[in-house]
């Protein structure tokens, strides 16, 4: 294994080195770096040109420029851009902005994509499956920038206008209810009567939900409140228990329900802490949650102790997350007033000069992250859905799944324990491949949403034929791709004992 890693590292290093040569040469030859100055009419034009020529070493031959860049990089100096700004500093700022954007979007895309993919595999050839397949094809064919501009128009500008009077028109409620009914109906298997029944249930539930939201003008002052919080976390408790342990015997269920109740009550008790916490306190609370829930699961779990602990911990963390969102939503009114009633933002990473408490600041980041993340998620989502569907289908046809069914295991255990875990293995490689796609998506999304990240830095620099920032960008992304690929290979061999690294 160590030999394998060492060999891969050495090879990767030389591959990356060769790639930097290609990138440097292509970038330097892609245009005229003095173009804007040639059209400059100011009296000190000659001095400016001489200045830039000197700074960018334009009089030196290309190999010399490359080698001097390489020498500086080895010493940890990324050089200066054409205006004399230190590229290392630029890169630091841009990297943190891009990571915020990319990490959140990728995690969401993975979770949602895998869930949809697995459900559509378990319901193969159902209406849901066909719809998901079709939707995935549409997603593959969507230009990101087009979607991003659409989101800007309809999810930000029009949505903000609508927020002034947040009542949903009856036709929209009807359409949403119909959609809910169709999803419910498509997800159900069985004869026509059962499907019609679940269609009706879906229709009624969605319709009632949105009517309620509209009548109570929930969007004007969003938030959950204790009863709703309790209901959500209890539902989550049941859900997690079903997934991890099943409802019989009762031990794990009681542990998870206990975790939900304690969590919901804690949100009231901890108000002094939660009114304006710091990230450290939030992190501490998460640790306490894990400890308490683990203890709860351990005490109540009985024979299914391990499953009880995981169900309780998942419920606890989920409840914590819901409380977090709830607090953020409670800050919505003040925040909305502070940004003159236009909470969903379209430009940049934060509102300039905005100061508020912890929740308002977070809400500010979240409202800026929302749209670019949605655009990015849409790109990766289809890939994850298709791959996890295919991988799950393949696993479900394996002999060991048939064996598991034959020995009388409940379908839940077959799916969660035997199929799901093995089905996830091929997804690990996908994450590495997808990374390059996400970088590409980020370049486009950052341009549309005015996000001062790596993509913006790259595009500006390329437009100015300035190799230094382009190379800094490439070193980061190229290294990340090489490292991710290696991690994926190692992880694959670790997860699937049939694969041997050599």
């Amino acid at each position: 294994m160590i030999v394998f890693i060492a060999r891969r590292l050495v090879i990767s290093f030389f591959v990356l080195l060769a790639a930097t040569v290609i990138m440097f040469v292509l970038t330097a030859l892609s245009g005229d770096p003095l173009e804007d100055l040639r059209q400059d009419n100011s009296p000190n034009r000659a001095a400016k040109i001489a200045d830039r020529t000197e700074r960018m070493q334009l009089d030196d031959p290309l190999p010399v420029r490359y080698l001097s860049w390489l020498g500086n990089v080895v010493r940890g100096d990324l050089g200066v851009n054409r205006d004399g700004h230190d590229v290392g500093v630029m890169l630091g700022d841009a990297l943190s902005a891009t990571l915020q954007l990319v990490v959140a979007a990728t995690v969401m895309a993975i979770i949602i994509g895998i869930v949809i993919g697995i459900v559509s595999a378990l319901r193969q050839y159902s209406g849901f499956d066909y719809s998901v397949t079709f939707a995935a094809f549409i997603c593959f064919s969507l230009p990101v920038f087009w979607v991003a501009v659409m989101l800007k128009q309809y999810m930000a500008i029009e949505f903000n206008n609508w927020l002034k009077d947040p009542s949903i028109p009856p036709t929209v409620i009807g359409a949403l209810a119909l959609l809910g009914g169709l999803v419910f109906g498509a997800l159900t298997t069985g004869d026509r009567r059962r499907r019609l029944l679940s269609f009706a249930v879906g229709l009624a539930v969605t319709g009632a939900l949105f009517t309620l939201l509209s009548v109570t003008r929930w969007f004007a002052d969003p938030g959950f409140g204790l009863p709703l919080l309790l209901a959500i976390s209890l539902a989550a408790a049941v859900g997690f228990t079903v997934l991890s342990a099943g409802l019989n015997p009762r031990g794990p269920l009681y542990a998870a329900l206990g975790a939900a109740v304690i969590g919901a009550l804690a949100s009231e008790v901890l108000t002094p802490v939660l009114s304006d916490p710091t990230w450290l306190e939030i992190f501490g609370l998460a640790l306490v949650t894990v400890a308490v829930c683990a203890g709860l699961g351990y005490a109540l779990g009985g024979l299914q102790r391990r499953q009880a602990v995981s169900a309780a911990v998942l419920t606890g963390l989920f409840t914590g997350g819901v409380i977090f969102v709830d607090r953020m939503l409670q800050a919505f009114n003040d925040y909305s007033a502070a940004v003159r009633g236009r909470p969903i933002s379209t430009i940049g990473a934060r509102t300039p000069n905005f100061e508020g408490n912890f929740w308002q600041m977070n809400l500010d980041s979240a409202s800026h992250l929302l749209l670019p993340s949605m655009a990015l998620i849409l790109i990766s989502l289809a890939t994850y859905t298709r791959y996890s569907r295919a991988s799950m289908l393949e696993v479900m046809n394996q002999d060991y799944v048939r064996t598991a069914r034959a020995k009388g295991l409940p379908e839940r255990t077959v799916v969660v324990k035997h199929a799901f875990r093995n089905g996830l293995i091929p997804i690990t490689t996908l994450m590495a491949v997808d990374f390059a796609g996400v970088i590409g998506g980020a370049v486009v999304t950052e341009t549309v949403f005015g996000w001062e990240g790596m993509g913006k830095m790259f595009i500006t620099a390329l437009d100015q034929v300035d190799p230094m920032p382009v190379m800094a960008f490439f070193i980061v992304t190229g290294t990340a791709i090489v490292v991710f690929n290696m991690i994926a290979d190692i992880l694959y061999a670790y997860l699937d004992p049939r694969i041997r690294l050599s």
Binding site: A18, M23, L26, P143
Partner: protein, 327 residues
């Protein structure tokens, strides 16, 4: 065809129970499976329609088209440039079926937007098709040489492929676009194709690696067949399915890539236009003239989606394990 006719004749006459087994060539089976794939068929019709519309309407290479307005000429703004296309029949309360003076509307200078969109679609299609052809040719040659000859050639070519794959597609494409975008669609497509071959190269190499060990290749080699003949006559026909599918899908992604590049300003440069360029130009007009933004987007999606469906249908058609044709 001839094989089919031969097999059918004697087969039908000697089989009293009507259980005729019709022998089909590989090509016939592929065609049959493809034409049963409804989505692929729909994709092919839509793609054909878009291509014919784009090239016949405003003409191409000096050949005039049937649409009388030019994508260069400005004109008087009619009704603030709103689209005059109507598809809702009169008995449903619409204006009836007609194209009108400016079916896709006009931009703020009064240029006919239908002509402009068609010009954009032409350019985007040209770039995408050239990228597909060039990338497929280079990828196939590299993969074939590396997979068949092994040794030093393989090591060199595959390291080159590794190097190219390390650079994210959009990055290398943007750099290439910055260099060649000014020289027009053909140059852009050519150079984009020259940097986008590595994935296909790897795919073809894999196929060659497994096929070169097969008995029929061994037999050909034993009979003294030249390497060139083995590659082109014996191995390549067996990989043609994989290559065609990959080529089709690469055209679909090239359409999206070209539009993204033009949107970022590294693709086709003004005064010429492409679908991405149009979206970039008019994105600020979204609130006042939304149609300037909608039409090019719809055409990009229609092209990419239809090619993706064709690719999916081809994949199913070429897959020998495929017994059931998915809807």
């Amino acid at each position: 065809m001839t094989l089919n006719a031969q097999a059918k004749g004697p087969g039908a006459s000697t089989d009293p129970q009507g259980m005729t087994i019709v022998a089909r060539t590989q090509g016939q089976m592929v065609r049959r499976r493809f034409f049963r794939h409804r989505a692929a068929l729909a994709g092919m019709i839509i793609f054909g329609f878009v291509v014919i519309l784009a090239f016949s309407s405003i003409g191409f290479l000096g050949v005039p088209g049937w649409w009388d307005k030019s994508y260069l000429g400005t004109g008087a703004l009619v009704n603030q440039g709103r689209p005059t296309l109507s598809v809702v029949p009169q008995f449903l309360g619409g204006d009836g079926l007609h194209l009108g003076e400016h079916p896709f509307g006009q931009d703020n200078l009064g240029i006919d937007y239908f002509a402009l969109t068609m010009r954009g679609a032409q350019q985007s299609l040209i770039v995408a098709l050239i990228v597909g052809v060039v990338a497929t040719t280079v990828g196939t040659v590299v993969g074939a040489v590396a997979g068949y000859f092994r040794g030093g050639a393989e090591a060199t070519l595959m390291r080159l492929t590794d190097v190219m794959i390390t650079i994210p597609v959009i990055i290398i494409a943007a750099v290439v676009g910055q260099m060649t975008g000014k020289s027009g669609a053909v140059a852009l497509g050519l150079f984009l194709g020259l940097v986008l071959w590595p994935t296909l190269g790897r795919l073809v190499r894999g196929e060659f690696l497994s096929l070169r060990e097969k008995e029929f290749v061994e037999a050909a080699r034993a009979a003294g067949t030249s390497a060139q003949r083995i590659i082109f006559r014996h191995i390549l026909p067996n990989t043609v399915g994989v290559i065609i599918v990959a080529a089709t899908l690469s055209v679909a992604s090239a359409v999206l890539l070209e539009s993204a590049l033009s949107f970022l300003g590294f693709g086709i440069q003004p005064p010429d236009t492409s679908l991405g360029q149009l979206i970039n130009n008019y994105r600020s007009a979204m609130t006042v003239r939304p149609w300037l933004f909608w039409w090019p987007g719809i055409f990009i999606i229609a092209i990419a989606l239809s090619i993706n469906f064709i690719g999916d249908g081809l994949r199913d058609a070429f897959d020998p394990r495929q017994t059931r044709v998915r809807a």
